[in-house]
Amino acid sequence: MNRIEERLQQVKERGSKAFITYMTAGLPDMAGSAAILKAQAEAGIDVIELGIPFSDPVADGPVIQAASYRAIQKGANLKKIFEMVRQVRSEGCEVPIVFMMYFNTAMYYGLAAFAAKCAEVGVDGLIIPDLPYEEQPQMTKVLDETPGAPILIQLVTPASGDRIPMILENARGFVYCVSSMGVTGQEADFHRNVVSYLEQVKAVSKIPVMMGFGIRTAADVEPMKNTIDGCIVGSHFIRLMEESNYSTDVAKDYVRTFKAQMNGEKG
């Protein structure tokens, strides 16, 4: 069983909500990035999204764009990030890891080589925001042919409407439910019909529904807590890391507090 599916199954059995963070890989540097990843795993994060820096992140808002740009300046690239994952796995870290990346990065590496490398080092999932459902067969074909390949996570948005059942039909892992129109990091500016939209997704989804985009604290998701199975924090987490000079203690504390509050425990 894939690490993501296994972990989310455990979370469900406990009757809790899952918590996922996004961090651009390679910040403050490769070693620091690995330290933040391990600190979060220790604090009980359920899934970690590692952002693969790309020159033209069209699905991202200013915070992730800037982080992506800085990471590239510091020399981060796909090859080094594969090495980082290999390293943390060799140290016994089993947290589910998802690559959030743009399609060009995988295409340039070569899709078959990319899938094989993910399987080899232990990448569990892929989120590719510029690879919509209709363009996915080229990727899923390769993933299907590669033993131990990562799951391609499906995204749905408030504009998906009648596309939702099609997108979710064979979806695995979790559904990434985008909470607003536009790009990442728009501070809790959720779509006006966000709750009914989430309910619509939940009604057809056979797998956990995770809400992302614009979330900062557990309070932000309180109104839809009964509908979703968990949530994803990206831009806000990056900002926290920048402001604390990439403190692993701040990372741990944020993960523990968010999880506890979301699950109604004392922070």
Binding site: D56, V58, P62, M107, S160
Partner: protein, 394 residues
């Protein structure tokens, strides 16, 4: 249903948020181009407002000097100074038909921005134009024009601060505001159906040129050529000649300071296929698959990718793509000024430069039809500083 691909190029590499928007756009476009009333209105504005048809001018002195017939399709004589307005009229009429009240656009040299601002003023729509902060510096005149026309020019400061980044920002805004906003793409790039749409609305260039050439020479031209950045004037110039196998099609990319220096904008010279701005096409990339910055003295050719149909025409062998350097283009520009009294845009001067090279292999009876895509007024500062730096213009 039209295919979303040209061979292996094209597609719709956009965020899920935009997929229904693209489907809506495709339906509206397919519906419009089957409606004679839509075309009637489009041609009304092209004739009465843009000033079409544009002349196919026989450049006598150039022809004599280079030993082959050179005809210029005078897109520089269009209202707003370039071919860009043809496509804007088509897309804005479509936007209006779809009930959109706002338009956004990206611009590099500012020509497409000016054309969109013009169309928006004409049809009473709110207009925002995204432009890289670097381009705002070097194309100040066009920024002023857009503002006079009532558009808001949004300065984009990310990545290289040029056209590529302005396009990223326009796509981001569109994803957020698609409900009431139409994205007017100026080049033959972007996700399907944009490349097809831009071709459809620029096709008038080759339809006219073919007929005009027939009237003058009683046959088809031997060579048809145009400059290629994203590829809008060239796809318009090629369109009606693609199915004429006897006509040689040549696209001219910008070699900047020379392909070997790495400072160029020739996506097809060394580029390999990649995905950017919603399409799969040839793309300048570094060793990590990040998009590389393009370099050209011409802001309008300064783009790391190229329209997907051009990538297909290249691979299928139907068209040939070559490149000329900044220096060659500037020399050709000066030549056209002096021999014909026409100041071309630096973009168009790239096609001219290659025409002079090509002419050497042709006879006196043969003919080149070249798309003179725009006029050079906007480039006055660049031209002045280039030649004063070189010291061979008074």
């Amino acid at each position: 249903m039209s295919s979303k691909y040209y061979g292996e190029f094209g597609g719709q590499y956009v965020a899920e948020t935009l997929m229904n928007t693209l489907a809506e756009l495709e339906r509206a476009f397919e519906d419009a181009i089957r409606d004679p009333k839509f075309w009637e209105e489009y041609h009304y504005y092209l004739r009465e407002y843009v000033g079409r048809e544009t002349p196919l001018y026989y450049a006598k002195r150039l022809s004599e000097k280079y030993g082959t017939k050179i005809y210029l399709k005078r897109e520089d004589l269009n209202h707003t100074g370039a071919h860009k307005i043809n496509n804007v009229i088509g897309q804005i009429l479509l936007a209006r038909r779809m009930g959109k009240t706002k338009v956004i656009a990206e611009t590099g040299a500012g020509q497409h921005g000016v054309a969109t601002a013009t169309g928006a003023a004409l049809f009473d729509m709110e207009c925002k134009v995204y432009m890289g902060s670097e381009d705002i510096e070097r194309q100040h005149l066009n920024v002023m024009r857009m503002e006079m026309l009532g558009a808001k020019v949004v300065s984009v400061q990310s990545g290289s601060n040029t056209l590529k980044d302005a396009t990223n920002e326009a796509i981001r805004t569109w994803a957020k505001e698609a409900e009431d906003t139409f994205y007017v793409i100026g080049s033959a790039v972007g996700p399907h159906p944009y490349p097809r749409m831009v071709k459809e609305f620029q096709k008038c260039i080759s339809i006219e040129a073919k007929r005009q050439f027939m009237e003058k020479e009683g046959r088809l031209p031997d060579v048809v050529m145009a400059c290629v950045g994203g590829g809008s004037n060239s796809i318009g110039m090629f369109a009606d000649f693609i199915d004429e196998p006897g006509v040689e099609l040549i696209g001219v990319e910008a070699a900047g300071m020379g392909i070997e220096t790495g400072k160029h904008a020739s996506a097809m010279a060394l580029g390999r296929p990649g995905v950017l701005h919603g399409m799969r096409s040839y793309l300048l990339q570094d060793d990590d698959g990040n998009v590389q910055l393009a370099h050209s003295i011409s802001a309008g050719l300064d783009y790391p990718g190229v329209g997907p149909e051009h990538a297909y025409l290249r691979d299928s062998g139907r068209a040939q793509y070559v490149s000329v350097t900044d220096d060659e283009a500037m020399e050709a520009l000066a030549e056209l000024c002096r021999l014909e009294g026409i100041i071309p845009a630096i973009e168009s001067a790239h096609a001219l430069a290659y025409a002079f090279r090509k002419a050497k292999t042709m006879t006196k009876e043969q003919a080149i039809v070249l798309c003179l895509s725009g006029r050079g007024d906007k480039d006055a500062h660049t031209i002045e500083s280039y030649f004063s730096g070189k010291g061979y213009m008074n």
